[in-house]
Structures are given as C-alpha cells and as structure tokens.
Symmetry: C2
Amino acid sequence: MSQSLARALQILASLGEGDRSLDELAAELDVHKTTVLRLLRTMEADRFVRRDESYRYRLGSRLFALADAAREQHVVREVASPHLRQLNLKTGQTVHLAVWENGEAIYIDKLDSVQSVRMYSRVGVPAALHCTAVGKVLLAAQPLRQQETLMGMLDYHSYTRHTISGPEELRAELDVVRAQGWAADRAEHEAFINCIGAPVTDHDGRVVGAVSISVPDLLLNYDQVLELLPDLLATTKAISADYN
Amino acid sequence: MSQSLARALQILASLGEGDRSLDELAAELDVHKTTVLRLLRTMEADRFVRRDESYRYRLGSRLFALADAAREQHVVREVASPHLRQLNLKTGQTVHLAVWENGEAIYIDKLDSVQSVRMYSRVGVPAALHCTAVGKVLLAAQPLRQQETLMGMLDYHSYTRHTISGPEELRAELDVVRAQGWAADRAEHEAFINCIGAPVTDHDGRVVGAVSISVPDLLLNYDQVLELLPDLLATTKAISADYN
DNA sequence: GCTGAGATTGCAAAATACGCAACGCGCGTT
DNA sequence: AACGCGCGTTGCGTATTTTGCAATCTCAGC
C-alpha cells in the first residue's frame, strides 16, 4: 500500500540477516541507490538502522527498545519468565515459550541450554504447526473450524523422515494432544532433536501460550526426555496459576 | 527525508509505549486517519504491527525476530552473555551491558537482580553519559576530540543532587575513570542506587563495551558495592579475553 | 430496527519520492 | 605520485505515490 514504507521494511528484514552495503541493498530491492540511501537515512535518524565506520548498514538499537516493549505487552511472557528460568536451570535444556498470533505460533521467548547446542529457532519467528511441540499444542487449542481450515492450508514440509505429512495424520495427532494435555515432537522438525510441549491456560482454561523443552538426541533419548514431562507440566501449571 | 516512512517509524515508537487505536494514532501524529490506516496496513502485512480483535494496534512479532537478529549482530553481547549471567548469579545484583553507538551509550543487555527492584533502564535505550557508570566508561574511551564535542553538547540534566553538572567536573571525572580503569555512579542517576562499571576491550585494547553492576542503597551502601569491584573486573577481563 | 462511532474506499490534487547523471572522496594500482 | 575505480552523496525535473476529504460501510448498543 505504501511503497516507500514497504521497501523500508524490506530493508529491515534484509538487515536482519546480516549487515549490508548500500549497493547490496539496492540490488536486493531492485531500486536505485538513491532511494535506498534516503530510506536508510530516515531510519538512521530514528536509530532503527545504524552504520559502522566502513559504511555497512546494520539494525539499530531502537529495535531493541521496541522489542523489549513489545514483550512486556505480552502478559504471558512476563508471568512465565521466572518459571521458564527455573525450568531451564533445573533441566539444563533449551526452553521455548510460544503464543498464538494471527494464525501462527510465534516464539516469544527462548532460553538456551547450558550446552550451547544451536537450535534453529528464534524469538519472533513462527513455529511450524505440524511438527513442533508448541505448534501442535497451540493449534490443538484453536476453534475446530479454524483448525480444519489451517490443516487444509499447511504445506506439510517434510523436515525429517518423521515429519507428519498430511491433514489426516495431523488430525489424529491433535486428538492425542488434546487428550493427554501435552504434545511431543520426536525428531519431526530437526533430526536428532526431541521436544515436549504443554499449554499455559488462563483462569477460564483458555490456552494462552505453550512451553516446550528441546533436547538433542545425543544428550537424552526420547524416553529420557519424557522423564522431564513432570517438570514441564509443573511449570505450565505454575505459570497458569500466576496468570490469574 | 521520507515522510511516510518517518511517520511509520513514529507509529512504531508510539506503539512501543502501549497499544493504540487508529484514531489515537492519527491524533498523535496529527495526520488523517486514512493515512495512518494505510501505513498500518503495510506494516501489518509484514507482521511489524498486529491488531487484536477490538481493532487496537500493537507491535508485531516481526520486531522480536529483528531485535533478536540485531542482538546477535552485536558480537560483544554473544561473548559476554555467559559471563554476565555468572556475575548476576554470584552478586545477585542487576547487571548491564552497554556499547557505544553513534555518539550514545546504548544498553544492549540487562539481567535483573534477584530482588526484583525495578530500575529505570531498558535494553535499547541510551544511557546518560554524565551520570551512569557505563556512560562514563564508554565516553572516557572515545577519541578526545569527540569527548570534548560531546561534553559541550550534553544537557547535564540533574537527576539527583549528586549528578555531575558541567563539562569541567565531567572532564575531571573521566580522567579518574581512565586512570583507575573503572567508573562509579554514586546515586548520580537514580537516588539510592549506586553503580560501578568497567570496560570490555578487544585484542588491541580498544573499548568495545561496558559492564556495570547496580545496587539499591538499602541492600548495600557504596563501600559495600565497591567490594564487588573484583568480581566486576574479573568479569570484564574474562569477556575481553573471550573476545579474542 | 435505528443510531452512531469507528473503519474503510474512491477520487482528484499535489506533495513527495523517484531515478538520472554528475560530483566527491578515499583507496588500491600501476 | 598520478590515475582510476568503487562507492557514497547531491541537485533537479518528472510523475508516481501519497494524502486528505467526503461518502460509504460495518457493527454494536439501545
């Protein structure tokens, strides 16, 4: 709708992947250098973008401030924070918090494992609905009508050979999730990583978020991960209680 | 330079303070509703902004992702993270990490004290240069020419009755900071809060960041805070070593 | 079923952003 | 030391894009 703004957002997205030079950005957006320069200048003035000594552009510090503010607007995250920290300390594993936002499951918090095994996940990024623990938990909690719509639209990308590959299979899986009150991801999204996830609910029992624990296979096998389930459920229960 | 973009950024800044309705935003920016609507739509499409059921606008999840990426682009933060965590655990106090960015000292990481005493500081926000420990440390490390320029431009806002109030006083303070290798803030920014801060350096000895510990007066008096200095210096030394 | 507050759209005016081409500047090359 | 190249920057005329208005639509409360 607004061309210059759309381009500016594209620039920000691009800078999110790494620093860029003016020409690189111009080439990427396929617009004239001049245009990019002026957009960058505007954003620089408000600290959304900065540039280093060698004229390479990077994301600016204003984004920190905004993201920080955006988080505080997510009540769940505030409430969950200390509990997640405790779970992270106790289990030593990577812990995620995700919420439902506009048809997607979005990670809004992440605590790394003590062993710094890098995982492909990031705060602010959507989680796949058909093959992650939090995705399943959140999807299973949506109105049935919307679940069906979404299940029909998913791409069912096969990340590993365990990935659920179609609506029927997913529908069955969601039934299990609803019945048992938690979801598993047995190397469905990343090979050699198992996860378990459970919902956080408000006073009316509505699901307002999902917490998961992710463990690389080489640390714990799937059955051993299941032994962490009581800790996970205790955490989500505590968060839900604090949530009022 | 780019009007629509500038307005859009203004909208983001405003949403950073809380959720807004269309009319509220229009009034705040003093532009027509239509204009705001279209800007919001553009940002909504890229998940920079979202709106809830009742048509109130909030910051979107894309900002999380970007902020997360922006952090990872700050090498110092990555390297410092585990050390800060350790310092935070050992002392139990609020720990900050700040870097120099475009003439300002910006907080890029913060770990709260175990006693949740709220401090007025926020990741992404600039720290005052004349009355915070990190501000002094970072300012003292800049080229003298720039220091002078900046000292002439600062507003020397008197937050408390201990706040440094002019260039001469600040110049003397910075000499002390350089000489001793760390800086203090004796209730100069927030009454009843004392801080100590020290620089992180790269292999060439250039200052690339600053770490500080902040303690409310009711927990420890100034002399007691000074006893934490060895811990602080050990931390900055360790970070500097890891920095390569 | 009416009323009104707020969101949304079509349109025409013009302000604004755009691309071009020329300039400046620093760095590495010959 | 001079030259040339790469890259950022600027002035300017054009026309695309954005803007504000006014009319319309939608939904909630009465």
